[in-house]
């Protein structure tokens, strides 16, 4: 037996490998990023033969896992909820085709949102694609569901979505497990073009088959203990029952048990789609009213056929956005109880504490780029060179270029380039020369930069594209990229340098520089802007290459210096506002800028930034 205090994502990895999953693919994204590394860790510890890969994006990950699944193997692909949008094309079609070996699509939701563009609910994507979805309440349940998902997938020949929310992914729980074993299924692809390459005529038939599968699965879900179950007592009738699943279910269990409220029955729907119709009807019939508490959007509530008894988002009892944190759920249940003239819950959370905290006017802690981050000097220089440009950017650490006034737009993965192109044409149509600078990270460029860049070059858009190459996928925890060539298990793959890809997209102006060199970067940016304006010019691409300060701590700042502030500082705050390094702060006593030596990493880039040259290198005592 092995024992560990596993992250939810580790529990999922464990569940996959316990079920003999042979192929795991992923593209990182919070809160899903740790699943694949945990698979790698377990695979190495248990000497398994599991194939793992960081795919270039989620669609690639899903396609790869699907292909392996139709050879009969058990496979999984892991992504965050907005990643499933990228893979949606593939998901919709895979649902029709069905699978041979079990296939689990893990799409991690982010109610809040804590680290995402949207709060979208993967369960609704499951409904759209018509594939079953499982919604774990705890890491342990996520582990069990990963195994069950393969059984469902193989029994009904359909991909299954496992939707853990962030509070499962990043919860921790103690787990024990026995030795893991490889599953020995060999790849065996049986040709069947009517299915695997189905034309629309056959797609209609596949759709009929899928609908039949959903009916069968709905019945199967009626008795999917303990994931779908209620605690009604026979023949008893209740004024109020609660229906929930996933994380809110666990919270409600704690709330009702703390309050000793066994008068309120609970229907748990850990497998909410396709809806276990019989089980749901049974529960609703036994109650005068049912309150649906589900995260993040409205699925169960829509699926209940008789909604006359139902309270939830549609009745205004549950908020339409935001995470359902415990005190909020407690409030919701208590208010519903009061509204029905039933005994409410006793609420311990104090309004007074909240009021005091609100009155303190605490600083808003916005996330910032790290001290020494190469993105900081890149954004500073870009903005300094063309302050009036429109700055399109993308998804990653560098979205925090917002704080430096270097980010005006952030839509989705790859949109720095496509939005730059769209903005260029919108202005060019009016014969306006609008400078535009797009910034995109290396991993994001590999993920979905090329299609946009090809299109922009082909359609003669003009802008400066700065690829912020820190040689890693920093925001999600330092996953390697094709530019690095290191693979998910640490082995060496093939390296595909950014330069080759960019040139392959038809770019003729390509410069590589170190963004720590502010003067050099300014000069290059100026030439780049000239090129975008020249009649025979085009899109100018600059690769701003400097290793991430966290991933490559020693390499990133080779010569550390001690930074200090001289008496020349006039407290103009240019460095604090425009360079925004966390190590720079205003010292009200000295009435000058000061350096927080605990935070300063000694990169010395800020020496270039001060208009009075008052940031200086000190002697190291």
């Amino acid at each position: 037996m092995t024992e560990d205090f596993l992250l939810g994502n580790g529990a999922i990895a464990l569940g996959l490998l316990e079920a003999g999953c042979q192929v795991v693919t992923s593209y990182p994204g919070t809160p899903s990023s740790e699943i694949l590394p945990e698979v790698v860790r377990l695979k190495k510890a248990e000497k398994l033969n599991t194939y793992v890969e960081w795919s270039t994006n989620e669609k690639v990950a899903l396609d790869n896992a699907f292909a392996a699944a139709i050879t009969g193997k058990r496979t999984a692909c892991c992504m965050k909820q907005v990643g499933l949008n990228v893979a949606a094309d593939s998901l919709m079609s895979a649902a029709y085709l069905g699978t041979v070996g079990g296939m689990v699509i893990i799409s991690c939701d982010d109610p809040g949102p804590h680290s995402s563009q949207t709060e979208q609910d993967t369960r609704l994507m499951a409904r759209l694609a018509k594939v079953p979805v499982l919604d774990p309440a705890t890491p342990q349940e996520a582990r069990e569901m990963a195994g069950i998902a393969f059984n469902i997938s193989e029994t009904f020949s359909v991909p299954v979505i496992l939707r853990p929310a962030i509070r499962v992914c990043h919860a921790r729980q103690n787990m024990k497990w026995a030795a893991l074993l490889d599953r020995d299924t060999k790849a065996s692809f049986k040709k069947d073009p009517m299915r695997w390459a189905a034309t629309p005529k056959f797609r209609f038939r596949l759709h009929q088959e899928l609908n039949q599968k959903l009916k069968d699965i709905s019945q199967h879900f009626d008795s999917l203990q303990p994931f779908n179950s209620h605690n009604l007592e026979p023949e008893k009738h209740y004024p109020l029952g609660v229906i929930s699943g996933g994380v809110p279910y666990a919270v409600i269990q704690d709330i009702l048990s703390d309050a000793g409220r066994d008068d309120i029955p609970l229907l748990k729907l850990g497998a909410p789609y396709p809806l276990p119709q019989k089980l749901a009807d049974e529960f609703v019939t036994a109650c005068d009213k049912v309150l649906v508490v589900e995260e993040t959007d409205t699925l169960i509530e829509y699926l209940l056929r008789d909604r006359s008894k139902v309270l939830g988002r549609l009745s205004g009892d549950v908020p339409l956005e935001g995470e359902l944190i415990p005190e909020r759920i407690e409030q919701i249940i208590s208010q519903v109880l009061s509204g029905m003239r039933l005994h409410p819950l006793s609420i311990k959370a104090s309004r007074e504490a909240q009021d005091i905290v609100a009155g303190l006017d605490l600083p808003i802690r916005r996330p910032t780029l790290c001290p020494g981050c190469p993105h900081r000097s890149a954004f500073y220089t870009i903005r300094k060179t063309r302050p009036k440009a429109i700055f399109t950017s993308d998804i990653g650490c560098y979205t925090l270029g917002l704080n430096l006034g270097g980010v005006d737009t952030c839509l989705d993965m790859g949109a720095a380039i496509t939005m730059a192109s769209g903005l260029y044409h919108a202005h060019a149509q009016d014969e306006v020369q609008q400078p535009i600078v797009a910034t995109i990270g290396d991993s994001t460029f590999y993920h979905s930069g090329t299609a946009g860049l090809l299109s922009a070059v082909y359609n003669d858009a003009r802008f400066v594209l700065v690829v912020l190459d820190n040689q890693t996928t920093a925001m999600t925890g330092m996953q390697p990229t094709p530019g690095l060539g290191v693979r998910a298990d640490g082995s060496q793959g093939k390296t595909i340098p950014l330069e080759r890809v960019i040139k392959g997209c038809g770019i003729e102006f390509l410069e590589v520089l170190d963004p720590y060199d502010i003067k050099g970067m300014r000069a290059t940016l100026k030439r780049a802007f000239d090129y975008t304006k020249a009649p025979d010019g085009g899109i100018a691409v600059i690769i701003a290459r400097h290793p991430c300060i966290i991933a490559y701590r020693d390499l990133a700042v080779a010569n550390r210096i001690k930074v200090g502030i001289s008496d020349d500082c006039i407290a103009c705050n240019h460095c604090i506002d425009r360079f925004e390094c966390p190590a720079l702060f205003h010292d009200p006593v000295r009435e000058k800028t000061a350096i927080d030596q605990a935070l300063c990493i000694g990169c010395g880039v800020c020496l270039e930034v001060c208009p009075k040259s008052a940031i200086i290198e000190m002697d190291i005592e």
């Binding site: 205090f5 921790r172 103690n174 704690d254 303190l360 925001m475």
Partner: protein, 187 residues
């Protein structure tokens, strides 16, 4: 075993080592035979934003501590101590790193007194900086926490976990900072 769960909330800023501190607490609790559930902050918020982690010992289903339910609030920064005050239960314990001479603020002190909340603070940041380990404020505070009457864990218990969990190069300094915190006087 159906005892009342023990709830911890740990607050601070990204980069202060909240996750490491939570792991030490959790592993120590596991070694004492507790069932443990925890919830962490990852991703965007880790880049210098407010970071909070929850740790629940006992027979619980959910990993999140409800506002008003925390027995202990450990804070690595004064403002984060204030921000997370609503989590603290009456009769709870606040244990914070302090950098100003004015902690807790008078308006907060009144609230704490009324709720029977005890407040303890040390200059954990200064302590660790002076030992040449500015990133180890978390361990200094953890050391100090063991000196409090209500601490469910002893200095030796934490020490053992830190020794097990620290990478070799940091083992000595980690223990040094922890010990310094454990022998620090409050004011």
């Amino acid at each position: 075993m159906n005892m009342k769960p023990i709830n911890f909330v740990i607050g601070g800023l990204g980069g202060q080592g909240i996750l490491f501190m939570t792991k030490i607490l959790a592993k120590t609790a596991l070694q004492k035979g507790f069932k443990v559930m925890g919830a962490e902050t990852h991703g965007m918020a880790q880049r210098g934003g407010s970071v909070i982690s929850h740790l629940r010992l006992g027979d619980v289903k959910s990993s999140l501590v409800k506002a008003g339910d925390a027995d202990f609030l450990l804070a690595l920064e004064e403002n984060e101590a204030y921000r997370n005050l609503p989590f603290l239960a009456k009769q709870g314990v606040l244990c914070s790193n302090r950098s100003s001479g004015n902690f807790p603020l008078p308006e907060v002190e009144g609230y704490l007194r009324k709720g029977g909340i005890t407040c303890h603070s040390i200059e954990a940041g200064r302590l660790s900086f002076e030992l040449g380990a500015p990133m180890s404020t978390n361990l200094a505070l953890l050391g100090y926490f063991t000196t409090l009457d209500k601490s469910p864990f002893t200095r030796e218990e934490f020490r053992k976990t830190i020794e097990e969990m620290s990478p070799d190069v940091y083992k000595e300094i980690n223990l040094k900072v922890f010990d310094k915190g454990a022998s620090a006087e409050e004011k």
